[in-house]
Symmetry: C2
Subunit: 220 residues, 2 copies
DNA sequence: CAGTGTGAAGTTGTTCACAGCA
DNA sequence: TGCTGTGAACAACTTCACACTG
């Protein structure tokens, strides 16, 4: 909705957020095709694979600036580069995570984010039993160490997986210590200054949709 | 979008999917308030906590059928019951997961779903090194065992965390074996019959939004 | 034809405006 | 005044229609 694309000195164009959310999926598929030695891919092909509307895909891809050959499609190598560039997947961001509970541990152990340019390099907690341990090779420190390490390592992303009661506090600390983006998994609305990038993810949302459909279609 | 609410013999009303996605977050907060001995909650209060539009919350809650007292709000106990009922969080669904890689393991280890009525009771894979082990107490079986166990245990939800190339195959097997809902994490569009409930979750989507904003606002 | 690319129409969801109530 | 509840206005996203190309 307020994302912008500024493909090397071109003027910025607003990219709708639903589009930004679909782009990584396209990228994933296109990379698979690339490994299978394909060199071109068309929007209708992607649409069939993902069961989306073909014009939707066309429109989404148009934001990358890559122009397709009619009747052939888009050159895969060009598309991959444009998508990775636009999504920032080739820029190697490092992240700190606060709250090493079940969800935090799960995120750390799921290393799939690494392919997308984000690496969780350390976790923080205030639970003495967790401090000093490591989760899948990622060390868990006391929250107090956060400041010092952030400044030294130039960390830009903070992930919050604490209970909701602690989340605003942690967010405030992160902001004070120079974090630029916060990925919040706690079910509250964090108050952050204008210049901080905030992304909320509510884990239960997808499950809710399923359970709800399951119950209501089962009743019919 | 096609979710329906049929609160005990009332006629079904269409509930927008974005609403269904917000409801579990409301539930979460309301339960916290309940533990803090509150008995009433108003829509504007929830809106402040989540930084949403107050009328949005009002409209969302109206779908539960609970009617609020003016100037006071909604009775918490009533709301909790209505939400849990509508979302199906009190119905104890059991799920099987196929693909015990990083993502699958992370989902299993994140036990937060249990509070929402879904428990992952077994995992399946075809990798000999994984079969026979267990992840956080959840056993990993060979995919061949899936059929037998599904039928015996009346499992309704199948979770797919395999590579995309295997996903359609696994989905077909699940459907043949009586699964009613599929939660797909593979980045492809599965083809499933009308009566099967399908929910796609693309993990990278949220990360993409963050990285993208981070890069483009940093450039400014 | 089977693609791209784009403006216009249609649909869906959100926000506003206001009536009613305690 | 502060809340619920709802119809109407608005904004965002998706789908359609069609001109254009090899």
């Amino acid at each position: 909705m307020e994302t912008t694309l500024s493909s090397s000195a071109k003027q910025s164009v607003a990219v709708p957020e639903p589009t930004v959310r679909r782009l990584p999926t396209y990228l994933n598929i296109i990379k698979n095709l690339q490994q299978a030695e394909h060199t071109y891919v068309s929007a209708p092909t992607l649409a069939r694979i993902l069961r989306l509307d073909p014009t939707q895909v066309t429109k989404d891809l148009s934001y990358t600036g890559v122009i397709g050959k009619t009747r052939v499609g888009y050159q895969i190598s060009e598309l991959v580069e444009a998508l990775e560039d636009f999504l920032g997947f080739n820029r190697k961001h490092e992240a700190f995570l606060v709250g090493a509970g079940y969800l935090g541990s799960a995120l750390i152990q799921y290393q799939g984010f690494r392919e997308s340019g984000m690496r969780i390099v350390a976790a923080f907690d205030i639970d003495k039993n967790k401090i000093g341990t490591d989760i899948a090779g990622v060390p868990v420190f006391h929250l107090e160490k956060f400041r010092d390490l952030t400044e030294r390592l130039h960390i830009t992303i903070g992930i919050i997986t604490t209970p909701p009661s602690a989340a605003q506090n942690v967010a405030d600390l992160m902001i004070g210590w120079g974090i630029k983006a916060i990925w919040n998994f706690a079910p509250i609305g964090l108050k952050v200054p204008e210049h901080i990038i905030l992304q909320d993810t509510h884990i239960y949302a997808n499950l809710a949709v399923i359970l709800n459909k399951l119950d209501h279609t089962a009743l019919k």
